[in-house]
Amino acid sequence: MNHLLNEIAQRSFPDDHDEWPAIQARLDQRRRQLVARRWVLSSACALMGFVLLAATLVVTSRPETVSAESLLDRAGTISDGAATSVHSYHVVATVTLGLAANREAAPIVQHEETWFGGNGRVRQATQTDAWSTLIVSDGTHTWWQVARGASTYVAPADGIRLSDAAYLNPLSESNANIASVIQFLTKSGCGQYGLAPDQTVAGRAAYVVRVTHTLAGSCSNPVQTLAQPRPSPVAATRAGPSKAPPARTDGSAKDSARVVAAPPPSAGQPIIEKPAGASVEAQQVLNSSVVDTFWIDKETFVPLKAVQSLGPKGSSTYEVSSVEYNVALSDSLFQYTPPPGAQQLADAAAIKQRLATQVH
């Protein structure tokens, strides 16, 4: 059996048969296939990488999607001295208040210069023809100084933010503090926000945000008075910094004095105070729509300009004339030394009280 099987096998494949050339050819073919497969794989990987890279470039090159509401929120946070991607900046601005009740008089102009040094270090000086204020914070302690006529008052104001400053100052004819205005709008939750085409302010590209809202400032409770008894500003100050903005007043000294006696309105309170026994017409004014426009730095979100409508009472314009980012600021800017002759009072409420007394 064995020899017959061998005979059959030998007949088919004689002893001199050589399969090596065919196997070599197969090895070469296999090698070529492997090379081709590697090339195809490499090409596929390269193509995939290219597609991913292109997709990434397309996605990242698109401008960041922004909403008007979030822009205003960021602007409010930054203008209140919070940390930003900009570690320091210096901004000079002017607030112009045009009151409809006094069309013949020149508008009230308030000059404002602010330095943000990071880590809570802020210095803001405001000045009008009638008074000037200075807020200095070294990140731990804050001082508030008000000068009017020959009198200068100084008091510690720890925990008070820039957005609180407007309500601290009863001499201000209107809500001239950009931080407080934005705080009010973003917290009132009643505005309609929209974006207009970008513009340039103070040499900076700016988003343009329009907010339509009522002077009452709240949808749920549009007409509120501030006449009800409330905790004193002193209590509010001691309880911690208030993020709420001041009430807008109609500019009269009488109304300003009345605002002093009330705490800053929280969200939901009107931006124009309703006098006791307000008429139906007054309520209509409070419920009427006005449009405020804000120009916000596209790179840093710092507010560069704002035009506020006060309805029938007039308008207020805040505009930055110069802004510098990431500048070296001297430490001395954020250290406070009372000027000679200044009257040092216990706290910010005492200054307010003193100013109110002077007004009356």
């Binding site: 017959l4 099987l5 061998n6 096998a9 088919s12 494949f13 399969e19 090596w20 197969r26 296999r30």
Partner: protein, 190 residues
């Protein structure tokens, strides 16, 4: 001065380093045995060559799976026979008997048992093998061509010994029946 053939282990070491030329001494040494075994199973010259060529290329590509402490030959022939079985299965049908020389009956005077041992021509065996299944042919090839023991067959095919025994028994029985002499002498008288 004569060239000393390169030992299997040296050739395998070259293959493991990715040197395909290391395959040549192994081809020279095992190609005939592999081709003939595949041919006896497949009964197709071209198909046997294809199976053996693929087995050598596969051995090169899977050389890292080979246990270098064991001999190369049995491992490789196992690859060849397994590939041959698969190829036979793929082929779908066996080569028909009439494609091959017809069986020439052995001497009528011989009994059926002797006929198996006394088959005189390769053609008779060849024709009888055609009647076996591929699995039975593999068993005959392993036992009578490669001269493996039943234990080695068990190891090579990875089957239990009982399976190997059963296959061999069935293959032998079938061959005896096919090689049984025909004619008056073999006929029984009532």
């Amino acid at each position: 001065m004569t060239d000393t053939p390169e030992p299997d282990q040296d050739a395998i070491a070259r293959l493991r380093r990715g040197d395909a030329a290391g395959l040549e001494p192994l081809v020279r040494r095992y190609q005939l045995q592999a081709l003939r075994a595949a041919y006896l199973v497949l009964r197709d010259h071209t198909l046997a060559q294809d199976v053996v060529q693929s087995a050598f290329v596969g051995a090169f590509e899977r050389i890292h799976q080979f246990d270098t402490s064991r001999p190369f030959g049995p491992w490789f022939l196992k690859l060849v026979l397994n590939s041959a079985l698969k190829a036979a299965g793929r082929r779908g049908r066996e080569t028909r008997l009439d494609a091959w020389p017809s069986i020439e009956p052995v001497e009528p005077a011989l009994g059926p048992e002797l006929a198996w041992e006394r088959a005189e021509t390769a053609d008779q065996i060849w024709a009888a093998l055609a009647q076996l299944s591929p699995v039975q042919r593999v068993a005959i090839v392993q036992r009578y061509f490669l001269e493996l023991t039943e234990h080695e067959m068990t190891t090579a095919l990875g089957c239990p010994p009982s399976t190997i025994k059963a296959r061999l028994h069935a293959a032998r029985h079938r061959l005896r029946a096919l090689l049984r002499p025909t004619g008056p002498a073999s006929e029984t008288t009532p």
